[in-house]
């Protein structure tokens, strides 16, 4: 009798275990499938439908290993929907706090928090700026740099100038040309004098950073209507940024502006002067 009971118990335990395993397998398949569907909807920017799937995943499978990651995608959906910035901020913050948060998604979440805070600040919520400022000394330089870049774009110039120390550091130490150009332009916006010091401090430029200067004078005028003094490193970008009509006018006169710039850069002390039919004069030189 005892033996029979023991066997019955064993069968029951094994059966329950097996059932649990089957149930877990079914759940894993179900949450994975839901998550995949949600991500596909995110890919197509169908934010509302994606959010519904993610909420369903979190509600139905709160213990699923995917529930944590779903928080990040929830942030993406709420951010994409518009008008729910604060909810999106909460979702991203919740994701960052997770123990098993993936580093790449943490960086993305931090970047999104900075973007959302920027939008909220520009929309009139002054307190949102703290989210950006607090990241200026973040341990992760990817986040620190992005916060500084974004802060340089805020409309209040006094606040924007707080980004200058981090941006200067980028100019002094970074090698990535894309990042460098962004930092230079951002500094030209918020603190040109900081850019000058940073260019002169960084080892690449030696004791004196080269400068591209452009002056445009209207016919008969001594004072230039347009003046530009920028680091020579931005010269290529400056030429690329020239108005298409101006570029066409110069080409029509038979000048290859890229070639001229290369000659100017080589000669170091030449000046290019272009006189228009209307008496206007364009002067470009590098020193």
């Amino acid at each position: 009798m005892r033996k029979t009971v023991l066997i019955a118990c064993l069968v029951l335990v094994l059966g329950l275990g097996q059932a649990a395993a089957v149930r877990a397998g079914v759940q894993a398949a179900a949450d994975e499938s839901l998550f995949r569907e949600a991500k596909l909807l995110v890919f197509d920017k169908d934010w509302r439908a994606a959010l519904a799937k993610i909420d369903e995943l979190i509600d139905r499978f709160p213990t699923s290993p995917l529930a944590g990651q779903a928080l990040f995608y929830k942030g993406e959906c709420l951010s994409g929907l518009g008008g729910r910035e604060r909810d999106a901020l909460r979702a991203y913050r919740s994701y960052i706090r997770l123990d098993d948060a993936k580093p790449s998604l943490v960086e993305e979440s931090e970047g999104s928090i900075v973007d959302l805070a920027f939008d909220l600040y520009e929309g009139g919520d002054d307190s949102a700026l703290r989210e950006i400022e607090s990241r200026l000394d973040h341990a992760n330089k990817v986040i620190r740099y992005y916060a500084a870049y974004k802060l340089s774009l805020v409309s209040d110039k006094k606040q924007a100038a707080k980004a200058a120390p981090v941006l200067s550091r980028i100019v002094e130490t970074e090698k990535d040309p894309e990042l460098l150009d962004r930092a230079r332009i951002a500094l030209l916006r918020v603190s040109p004098e900081s850019l000058k010091s940073a260019e002169e401090r960084q080892p690449r430029s030696g004791s004196r950073a080269r400068m591209l200067r452009i002056r445009i004078r209207e016919g008969g005028s001594k004072e230039p209507g347009f003046s530009l003094n920028i680091p020579f490193a931005l010269a290529d970008l400056a030429l690329g940024a020239m108005d298409e009509d101006d570029k066409a006018a110069i080409r029509k006169k038979g000048y290859d502006i890229a070639k001229i710039m290369s000659e100017l850069a080589k000669s170091k002390e030449s000046i290019l002067r272009i006189a228009g039919n209307d008496g206007s004069i364009i002067e470009i030189w590098i020193d």
Partner: protein, 240 residues
């Protein structure tokens, strides 16, 4: 001329004068041809330019002593001189390079400055270039994953692929701001889709299973990502 000949003695005198003029002109022409044949036209402009630029001021300005056949020399030089003169006039009117000591200009305004409008244009240009760069790098990475040269698995190891995906995600963050500001909606929509793929790839530390690879490949094919990359890239490169 024969029709004109029968109209009186005055006319005949005129004809004789014209014929004489034509004969003389022909003589001059043949002289010019001979002279022209002796000139190395390819080398001449360079030679003249060299001498003109090397001319020592006061001496160059002195009138040259009259020489026999000086008029012929002028004829011989005419094409090159005309070119040089035209070049000088146009050049002087439009542009000149003058050697200037930088010190004479610096000190007057040594600070950096640029208008907000200029900086916007520079950022727009930067957005255009960086988006093209982002699309190209994305294309290479996706091609490596789904159409490897040997027809087998991806060339890049999973860890390297994950790192590259993270790099591209970082670049994309900066592009988001610019693409939004400069109303490059088509490029932004495509970059956003690619970003989602990289979010997936950045989280995969191990090799992707065949099923996962196939799922992502099908998605790329279904949404015609490569075609869109090529189209948007071309638009941005041509400045549309």
């Amino acid at each position: 001329m024969d029709e004109y000949a029968g109209k009186g003695p005055g006319s005949r005198a005129e004809i004789a004068a014209v014929e004489r003029l034509l004969r003389e002109t022909e003589t001059v022409r043949s002289e010019i041809r001979k002279a022209a044949d002796s000139v190395d036209w390819d080398a001449l402009p360079g030679l003249i330019a060299d001498r003109a630029l090397a001319a020592e001021g006061p001496k160059a300005r002195l009138a040259p002593a009259p020489r026999p056949l000086a008029w012929l020399a002028a004829f011989r030089m005419r094409p090159a001189l005309a070119g040089l003169a035209a070049g000088l006039v146009v050049g002087a009117a439009a542009m000149y390079f003058a050697v200037k000591a930088p010190e004479s200009r610096s000190g007057r305004d040594d600070a950096y400055f640029a208008s907000g409008e200029f900086l916007d244009s520079a950022e727009r240009e930067m957005a255009r270039r960086n988006t093209v760069d982002y699309l190209e790098k994305s294309q290479f990475m996706l091609l490596d994953m789904f159409e490897p040269a040997g027809g087998e698995g991806p060339v890049a190891a999973a860890a390297l692929r994950s790192e590259r995906a993270r790099d591209l995600l970082q670049k994309k963050k900066y592009l988001n701001t610019q693409l939004g500001t400069f109303q490059m909606a088509k490029a932004k929509a495509l970059c956003d889709q690619i970003e989602m793929l990289f979010l997936e790839l950045s989280q995969v530390d191990d090799e992707l299973t065949a099923a996962e690879l196939e799922r992502i490949r099908a998605l790329i094919e279904d949404r015609q990502i490569f075609l869109k990359i090529n189209l948007v890239k071309k638009e941005l490169q041509s400045g549309v």
